[in-house]
Amino acid sequence: MAVVEVKNLKKYFRVHKKEPGLIGSIKSLISRRYEEIKAIDDISFNIEEGELVGFIGPNGAGKTTTLKCLSGLLYPTAGFISVLGFLPPQRKPEFLRQISLVMGQKNQLWWDLPPLETFQLNKEIYEIPEEKYKETLKELVALLGVEDILKVQVRKLSLGQRMKCELIAALLHSPKVLFLDEPTIGLDVVAQKKMRDFIKEYNRRYKATILLTSHYMGDVKELCRRVLIIDKGKLVFDGQLSQITQKYADHKLISVILAQEVEEKTLKSLGEIKEFSFPKLVYFVKREEVSKIAAKVLENLPVADLNIEEPPIEDIIRELFTGKNYA
């Protein structure tokens, strides 16, 4: 049985539309215009135990709303959701003890106290036995390397340090299902890397089922084999990350290192140039024309090296969201 089951999930919001300025505010007092926003519009997917799935989409696509429905914060408008066999909207304590939702932009740590105090409070709320608490805390602290900051006031911690402590607070009760919403937002590259390594290790060590949203394709590429792509509340892709390239990238890149300078006119005559900075030259070519153009390049240019590559996943996703070509 799947750990997470979502069938025809819909979540609509009724949003009040206000014209700008003071006049708009006065008008809205007398008569209000409401608009129905389809934050999630009939999506279905399953996630099996131990899977680490990436959930991507542009801003406002419905990612966070989905996570909030799955963790019981929001009541769905329609459809069925089940997590670990529980119905999340019922928010039963036994359910909440087995999940965690970490939101990169919202925190649970007590601002003026050291993180250790919030951990203590969570220990009481989640009724974690003393021995288990000590053991889990020790493991998480070691994995994240935060031994030195546990007794420092939260407001004196850097964003990265705070985020690590937020993660510990969210994981102390060893949740079986973890919803991570932008866990690396605002972090520098070093902290991002540490966070990714941690998530990967947590998934491996505890067989935790993880659904992760991120705007950084680096997170998704490094962590997830399977991705769900959502746009305007609709699920537009559910499959292996590698399949995205095959499904959506109708172009390939021919990267060339030139042995000597060539007139730009000659270069352009061979195909569409994506990037050129001597000696590096990159052609953007349709899949069916790759071999023909590669042959022409080799024939007409002084080539020191040549590579045929798939376009970067970031580009494909960007193209997908801007071009809206979900065929």
Partner: protein, 269 residues
Amino acid sequence: MKQLVNRIKYYLRVYFFLVKFNVMDILIYRANALVMGLAPVVWLTTMLIFLATIFSQVKTLGGWNFWEIVFLTGVHEVIFLLTWATFLTNLRKFVEEIKTGRFDQILLKPISSRFLVSFRNLDFTSVGSLLNAFFVFCFSLGKIIEKIDFLKIPGFLIFLLVAYFVCYFIYFIFASLSLFFINSKTFIDWVFDATDFDRYPAEIYTPSLRIFLTFFLPILFFAYYPTAYLLGKIGEEYLLIGPFLVIGLGLISHFLWHFGLQHYQSASS
């Protein structure tokens, strides 16, 4: 039964930790806490001067003499400050938490969200005012002690308990409206202002206003009814209304809360 005892123990343990954290929190901002604690002390003194000025012109107000009304003020302040310290500041903050979506973190915990929303923070800044109000309460009690029937003391204590719960449920109901309207602070402030009716003897109000303040917005239960009962100005029958009111308001707040949670929209991240 054993399960219930365990649950009570669990909530007491969590509450103990919350109290501990609040003490630690307040110790960080010691100076601020002391200054904030002074403001209501000044206010109470002003109130007493105001009453003394009125009573320099009249002998009684609605049949109550000066020290009876000072005692009423003392009871009102003690109840008000107890509610302020334990849940009122939390419920005012809750309205903000709905707007910012911080309520999410509370909903995710495997404990009654209503408990955390209501009792998460303790406002120790009112301790100074509470001591001051308690002094007014005791001093004025000394002045009217000969009028008090000691057999009424258990009933008076029940009235105070009813006052605390009625106050809690009324504010909680109005705070819960935030789940529907996002911002219900104005409603809370409105109730807050309306509690001023409870500072004076209800005999000075029209019958319709008294009925309204007894059954519809029962703020006369905060201090007026307990005090009037102790002073023998009302009969035992009012003691019976209290528990029904608590149960009724408790049920309304329970359903409103659970219905409201279905409407909770959170805030975008």
